[in-house]
Symmetry: C2
Subunit: 244 residues, 2 copies
Amino acid sequence: MLLGDFMSNKYLTIYNELAEKITNGYYKTNDLLPSESELMKIYGVSRDTIRKSLNILTQEGYIQKSQGKGSFVLDINRFTFPVSGVVSFKELGKRLGKSFDTEVKVLECIQPKEDIYKGLNINKNEKVWRIFRTRKIGQENIILDKDYILQKFVNNLTYDICKNSLYEYIEGELSLKIAYAKKQITVEKCTQQDKKYLDLNEYDTVAVVKSYTYLEDNNIFQYTESRHRPDKFVFVDFARRNKI
Amino acid sequence: MLLGDFMSNKYLTIYNELAEKITNGYYKTNDLLPSESELMKIYGVSRDTIRKSLNILTQEGYIQKSQGKGSFVLDINRFTFPVSGVVSFKELGKRLGKSFDTEVKVLECIQPKEDIYKGLNINKNEKVWRIFRTRKIGQENIILDKDYILQKFVNNLTYDICKNSLYEYIEGELSLKIAYAKKQITVEKCTQQDKKYLDLNEYDTVAVVKSYTYLEDNNIFQYTESRHRPDKFVFVDFARRNKI
DNA sequence: AAGTGGTCTAGACCACGCG
DNA sequence: GCGTGGTCTAGACCACTTG
């Protein structure tokens, strides 16, 4: 299914509408959603289509189903910082209603060093874009993002694109389809580079989010290291228990 | 569906079998799984049942589907530390093939202080179990787990249960159904308590995972604070991009 | 053109909660 | 007993990839 086709999908349309109503407060925490058969009538679709929509709501933490009872609306606001999932910095700003200031420090197309090309599983000679950006909250530089993007997927990059939103350009203009990412969070001693680009004050460690991003065709596309001053770092996750 | 009923479910059985074959290496990274219609024949079930199994594999990061091509096996081993999801310490040890040493430091039933009962959304008078445990890797105490569990769900707790596995007791013996958890990861200055229970060496911060755990009937059940020495802390996440 | 996954439907039966 | 969600089936048509 395409991103740009404005949801010709029934189940995604219904998912979005229900999610919106939960976010709005039309359905409130601990309310029951209409039953599946009621939703069938409301939207004029089959039960399976309704169930697909409800499954996504469940997966995303909007509702909790209970056999014999119905679908309860969960409190989506207990944590208000939804960093989980593959989300870009600009999208994050939007969700939080704040604006962050991004500065592009480095933008170049290089043959990467060993640790990078090995991590990306490419050969030595393949070129990648190296992008360093700092993110300001208030007056202080809090986050340093180091991106490495395979050039074969993104021919041209400009300061403006990097300052605005890489993901917007990549998914919008280039219509590359980002599928999934593997992330790892650690705490590391800060480097000279961290000190150079960030206002670390008394801190001598940084919280580091390393992630590999993949496209729908299963090609690795990007490696990112996001380095945060510890006191401003938050990562939030909604996890369902794996049965079995 | 029950945990204890040995998967009378077709789609879970098939999911488990396929996941096992991927973990085994029977299906290798970048292989294509048999097509949906082949799997239908292999397992003698309908297409929807196969698709349910494949959806879970997709969700868990085992495979990536591609319209017109098939289902590719992903490299499940790029990160070998699957901490994501709701997983107990003992299960983690099993997956890593290591054994950790758990010591129960505090076990008592109390009326909690303000920050705890407010976080749990209960009233002042309700009793909770307070459990402090340290986890040793090698010779050093690396993790301090502080659990608060509502007493109304768990009447009796013993040192043995806490030392072995709380989750095993809760899901096995009491057959409470854990549904989901909300987690938050931050880095905090270490407290006197951290210094008391952990071998922090030169570190003056800890990585903190706070999580609220909920049952299938939507009741909050537990609050946990897991405090890690920064150099040994890793959190791994597999995230699919949210369309729309 | 043939094969793959993606969406949607209609109908059946089961398991659970509640009055 | 009734209504709820959970599982499973059979069949249809569409969209995409590959030869």
